[in-house]
Amino acid sequence: MNRPCRDLETSLGRPAHTLSEAERLRLEQHLTACAACRRESDLARNITQLVLAAPSMLSESSRERAIAASFARATSEEARRASTHWLRSTGIAVAAAAMLALGLRFAHQGNDDAALAVASKAVGSQAAPSVAEPPASMAAAAMPTAPAPDQWLDVDTAETRRFAHAQVTLDAHARVRFDAASSTLELARGRASIDVDASKGAPFAVQTSTFRVQVLGTQFVVTPESVEVLRGRVAITHNRDTAHVRKLGPGETYRPSEGVRAHVSHVAPRQVVGTAELLRQAHRALAQGEPATARGLIERAQQSATKRSERAEAGTLSAECSMLEQKPVEAQRAYLAVAERYGALPAGENALFAAAQLSQPSDLAQARGLLESYLARYPRGRFVEEARARLRKLAR
């Protein structure tokens, strides 16, 4: 890179409004003559557009949850600091008292000089507050995350708390109590969404009046009547049938009301809303780069789907899974299947164009064929201009 290029390097690809008039003119003149800088400028701009165009990862409810949890964590952190400060100052006072006692002992034994030295040192070091009782700040900032073992916690509004190594979001009016010794959260009423830190390798359980859920590293939602696993696995023991342990995986739901030996059901074919929710979860899993998780959700959605549009969307997402797994041939095949079955739907049109875009560079004939098919089938389609532009490019 020569000197003019270096001088302008940080301006390449920057939005126009961030440059002064002189910088803009200089840059424009340089880009007219320098192909290398033009390419770099384009690349920088592409990267910027790609990142800025990415949709938001968090929903409003996720952000609300983060806000609520930040207060819970901030409060427990303050309590921890207050506790540490109290313990430290208690320790200093205890040590000072011990030294004073030692000094008095020396005095009793007639060693006046040593007694005075120890006693004065003890007094001098006692800069801590009285150890008679913990400071008021600690009492006020009582651990919100771990009430006394036999103390029930009634939650008026939805909140997130930490119980040992689990973060628990309690719906409004939930009632729980936590036994730290056994890491068991007892749920008497309401709904809890639990996110357990599997890396701790420590057990965590939820007990209701009907069943016990043993966590194996997961996220799940539990009410007194049901358990639904969102991620990971849990083991469930019915209170009246402790010999029989059921294991649930992602997307599975257990309802003891179906019977003492109620089988573990996969997410039962719910109403249409259920399928839509599964498809949204699959979108999210894809956005987070988890095609395997997405595939599981897509499969369930396909089982429960009653609408053609839902089946078409499931097929499209399946193709996207293949793209994430860097299997363009499989992805193209999946897109073509959607295009063939659901050609009359928008998803079908999208799939045909997507399949055309995935043609291998070595197979120009296929790319041309698919683009021409698209134009023939959808003469007024959404991607007509792009399809024509691509055909022109292929013709060069």
């Binding site: 939005p15 424009e28 990862m57 929903s59 830190d197 996220q219 894809l286 994430l324 998803a347």
Partner: protein, 217 residues
């Protein structure tokens, strides 16, 4: 040619906007009043989320990072002097949180698959194929960004992607301007060289964004 350069969203152009908060509200935040803090957090959290996302990339820990950022803000608000806007101050905390995360990746991975109400593309989108392609490209981009030094990567994202001035990036990262400039340049060269060699990225990395530019070269 510069006329065809896209204008980045105005959010960063006004990133140094005036606080926009009444002094009484800011004082209430300093005193730790929850309702005041919640009001500020609700307004700023979408913006902070975007900053975290752009620095960290698509990550299952974004919600956790946002939570950590807000928790730090709660602790630090009593010392907020008002020399910068609230948004800039919070952004600084977010950048620090992101840097810490990049330097010390969390051992655990908590993925929330709870149902979300919005924020995701649905079948009604007219361009799912493009979105899928964009997702793949984004992943490839962040794979390469992950290989950069955390401070180089962060400086590059804040300067190049977010369009912030070099001085602003330096302030957000608690660094000098010349150090920040070196970091940006170093990140650019490394990243662009790697993208050019990556067969998955070669096509889109050199793709022209406007047809007119392609025809003229």
């Amino acid at each position: 040619m510069l006329a065809t350069l896209p204008v980045v969203s105005s959010e960063n152009a006004s990133a140094l906007e005036a606080s926009g908060y009444a002094p009484q509200l800011v004082d209430a935040c300093r005193r730790g009043e929850r309702s005041a803090l919640e009001q500020v957090f609700r307004r700023e959290s979408p913006f902070l989320e975007r900053v975290l996302f752009r620095v960290l990339g698509p990550s299952s820990e974004l919600e956790d990072m946002l939570q950590t950022t807000l928790e730090q803000a709660i602790h630090a608000f009593p010392a907020f002097r008002g020399e910068a806007s609230v948004r800039t101050w919070l952004t600084r905390i977010a950048v620090r949180t992101a840097l810490h995360h990049l330097k010390h990746p969390a051992q655990r991975r908590r993925v929330s698959l709870e149902l979300i109400e919005g924020g995701m593309s649905t079948a009604s989108s007219s361009r799912p194929a493009h979105e899928a392609e964009a997702r793949v490209r984004l992943r490839i981009l962040y794979e390469h960004l992950d290989r950069l030094e955390p401070k180089h990567r962060t400086a590059f994202v804040l300067f190049q992607v977010e369009g912030r001035a070099m001085e602003e990036v330096a302030a957000l990262m608690d660094s000098g301007v010349s150090t920040t400039k070196s970091r940006v340049m170093w990140a650019r060269r490394k990243l662009f060289a790697r993208l050019a060699k990556d067969p998955r990225a070669r096509d889109w990395a050199s793709e022209l964004t406007t047809a007119s530019e392609g025809d003229s070269r």
